[in-house]
């Protein structure tokens, strides 16, 4: 967009920018770029020093971007920098397995050829996504990034929101956005409480190199201790997200690389040939945490700050991007009408749009996890029959594929083709 530089200076009240974003992770930076495209300026405050954020060694973290999310990154001009390092997901195979069984029983099979839009999504490594975002932010005059500092306090006045940084600097804007993760300080300072629970499970995350090609197929195995996902990365590499009971997960994580692989191998068989670790290992305790309100006066939450989900379907980042696309959509139209982008009317439109979607998704993944993280023979039979049924009904199967691609529901402008 070639609008003249925005004037955040409204007669009577001078702001540093239109929007203050707490948190310069993937969500915070993407929001700043989406807002810039809607003609709004932002200041992003991030605790991580910029050098750390720019680190380009592969640490093993990667995201399954749904097709809708990929479209959004393309609309924001980020895809060109990511395309070469992104692995299309052509197929998703869902299998009900048990440790030690050769996990080749294919219960469910979602092939992208069944929908016309293209692959269901792309696997993108964290380092490339961060690099693309930081470069785009650097080139965008409407975004100011303050790295290596934290917000110490915030105040909301009828004229705007102000924050005080830990070094004593003060900043003001029309609206404050919390993109600061599942234990969001922005939400806490605004008095927004949370609802949630742990699952007593921990996700083990790593990247592996393997002998045989993955052919762009993502696998989801449902094991009694919790799900295991094998997601294709570029080359003969895959990202593994694997859940185990809390205590056992810690034991596994304490093992040497070789012993860690010995535990992992029997969980998905040998269809990829020999495997080895291709990055660091991470653990994340699994739990659901939902903010009880998405907005307060001149304040809104996005991403995990609003909804920390079970990462069973890789939906965390996708849901965050959908929040951002919806907020940018609402702001774009509000600004054209001359509405105050921080008014409860405008922020309320965003909250209403996203709250229902997210509560449904959170409840769905929660139920899914409870249903599948179980070795009860009746439940096993039930879900196997269910999988077989879904597999035989092309309409239902297409609906699942479209859901995985993020194409269901009321799509914000940024996610449309």
């Amino acid at each position: 967009m070639d609008n003249p530089a925005p004037r955040a200076i409204v007669r009577g009240m001078e702001h540093d920018s239109d929007i203050l974003i707490a948190g310069g992770g993937l969500n915070g930076l993407t929001l700043a770029l989406a807002a810039a495209q809607a003609g709004l300026s932002s200041t992003v405050v991030d605790a991580l020093p910029e050098a750390a954020a720019r680190a380009t060694n592969f640490d093993g973290r990667a995201y399954a971007l749904a097709l809708a999310s990929q479209r959004m990154l393309a609309r924001l001009g980020l895809w060109e920098a990511l395309r070469a390092d992104a692995q299309p997901m052509l197929d998703i195979k869902v299998t009900d397995g048990r440790v030690g069984d050769s996990a080749v029983f294919l219960g469910l099979h979602f092939d992208h050829a069944e929908i016309e839009e293209g692959p269901m999504g792309f696997m993108v490594e964290d380092r490339y996504l961060r690099r693309a975002l930081l470069s785009a932010v650097e080139a965008e005059a409407r975004v100011t990034l303050l790295s290596g500092t934290r917000i110490a306090g915030q105040e909301v006045l009828p004229q705007g929101a102000t924050v005080t940084l830990e070094d004593g600097r003060g900043l003001s804007a029309r609206v404050l956005i919390g993109a600061d993760g599942r234990s969001s300080g922005t939400a806490q300072r605004a008095g927004i409480t949370r609802t949630g629970w742990g699952y007593g499970q921990t996700a083990l995350v790593c990247a592996i190199a393997h002998e045989l090609p993955h052919n762009g197929v993502a696998h989801q195995f449902f094991m009694p201790p919790g799900p295991l996902a094998i997601l294709p990365l570029t080359g003969n590499r895959s990202s593994i997200v694997w859940s185990e009971r809390e205590g056992f997960a810690q034991e596994i994580n304490a093992l040497s690389d070789e012993k860690y692989l010995q535990v992992l191998r029997p969980r998905f068989g040998d269809f990829l040939g020999e495997i080895s670790l291709a990055g660091e290992r991470f653990t994340y305790p699994l739990g659901l945490t939902l903010a009880n309100s998405w907005t307060a006066d001149r304040l809104a939450l996005v991403g995990d700050a609003a909804h920390g989900m079970h990462p069973i379907a890789g939906q965390g980042l996708n849901a965050g991007l959908r929040d951002i696309a919806a907020l940018a959509h609402v702001w774009h139209h509000a600004a054209r009408r001359g509405e105050d982008i921080a008014s409860p009317q405008v922020l309320g439109r965003y909250a209403e749009w996203r709250r229902f979607d997210t509560a449904t998704l959170a409840a769905g993944t929660d139920l899914f996890n409870r249903l599948y993280s179980n070795d009860n023979p009746l439940l096993r039979m039930g879900r196997d029959l269910g999988m077989a049924a879904v597999n035989r009904l092309p309409g239902l199967r297409r609906a699942f594929i479209r859901e995985a691609a993020g194409l269901n529901g009321d799509l914000p402008d940024l996610m449309r083709a």
Binding site: P4, V10, G39, P158, Q159, R337, G338, S343, Q345
Partner: protein, 246 residues
């Protein structure tokens, strides 16, 4: 404004302004309709005066009058888009309330306690006159619309919304909005004063303006939102007209 205003008075007006601007408060129905009204108004003004809504302050240089401004729900967006705005209201108590909110919003808006007829008598003239949900409340619509026309510069744009008169509008606007939903106080509207689109077009022409467009405001009870409709003018509707001679 001089600074002789009593601070406790200001606090009182700010509290009343908060009430006007509360999306779930007393004026909830107006807030629900507002985005739809603003979409129509901004699109019509942008088209008529060749402005690009994607730019910063697209209405810079335009003089806009809002009749029946209330708490400033239309004046503030117009000012934010760069217009020079005058808001008038026949209810004196609304003026300091609207002023208090504009101050909080950091916007400069000229609010006055006067009527269209009195303002027209001063010779004031505007590029656009917003006449939203007022005509169904006035005693003499023809004389009122003549005053609206007098307030326009030649080539100026008049936007007027009101409520149709038919069994459906009776059911929706009076039984529904006033009695069932309690959106509006009972007695807000008098159905016999409602005006059909054809009657309004005739009145607008009689006042010396040329009608150019009309659309319906359609309420969707499922999404709980209003939208503009080309065909359904059965209850709330809006019209655009031009004063000849640009």
């Amino acid at each position: 404004m001089t600074t002789t205003v009593d601070p406790s008075e200001i606090a009182k007006f700010e509290a009343m302004a908060a009430e006007w601007w509360d999306p779930n408060g007393k004026f909830k129905p107006l807030h629900m309709l507002n985005p739809c009204r603003l979409d129509y108004i901004t699109t019509q003004i942008a088209e008529e005066f060749d402005r690009d809504l994607g730019t910063e302050r697209p209405f810079e240089g335009l003089h806009i009058l809002d009749i029946g401004c209330g708490g400033g729900l239309l004046c503030e967006p117009m000012a934010r888009l760069g217009a020079t705005v005058v808001g008038v209201d026949a209810a004196e108590r609304n003026i300091p309330v609207a002023q208090a909110h504009a101050r909080q919003s950091g916007l400069e808006i000229d609010y006055r306690h006067t009527t269209a007829e009195d303002l027209a008598a001063t010779g004031a003239a505007f590029d656009a006159v917003l006449n939203m949900e007022v005509v169904e409340h006035v005693a003499d619509p023809a004389a009122y619309l003549a005053a609206c026309c007098a307030l326009l510069k030649p080539g100026g744009l008049h936007i007027c919304s009101t409520i149709n008169r038919n069994p459906k509008s009776f059911a929706m606007a009076i039984v529904g909005a006033e009695y069932v939903m309690r959106w509006l106080p009972k007695g807000t509207h008098e159905w016999s004063k409602f005006i059909t689109p054809d009657e309004l077009f005739a009145l607008i022409e009689g006042a010396g303006m040329q009608p150019v467009d009309r659309k319906g405001f359609q309420f969707n009870p499922v999404t709980w939102q209003w939208r503009l409709s080309d065909r359904d003018l059965s209850v709330n509707y809006v019209t655009a007209a031009l004063k000849p001679g640009a």
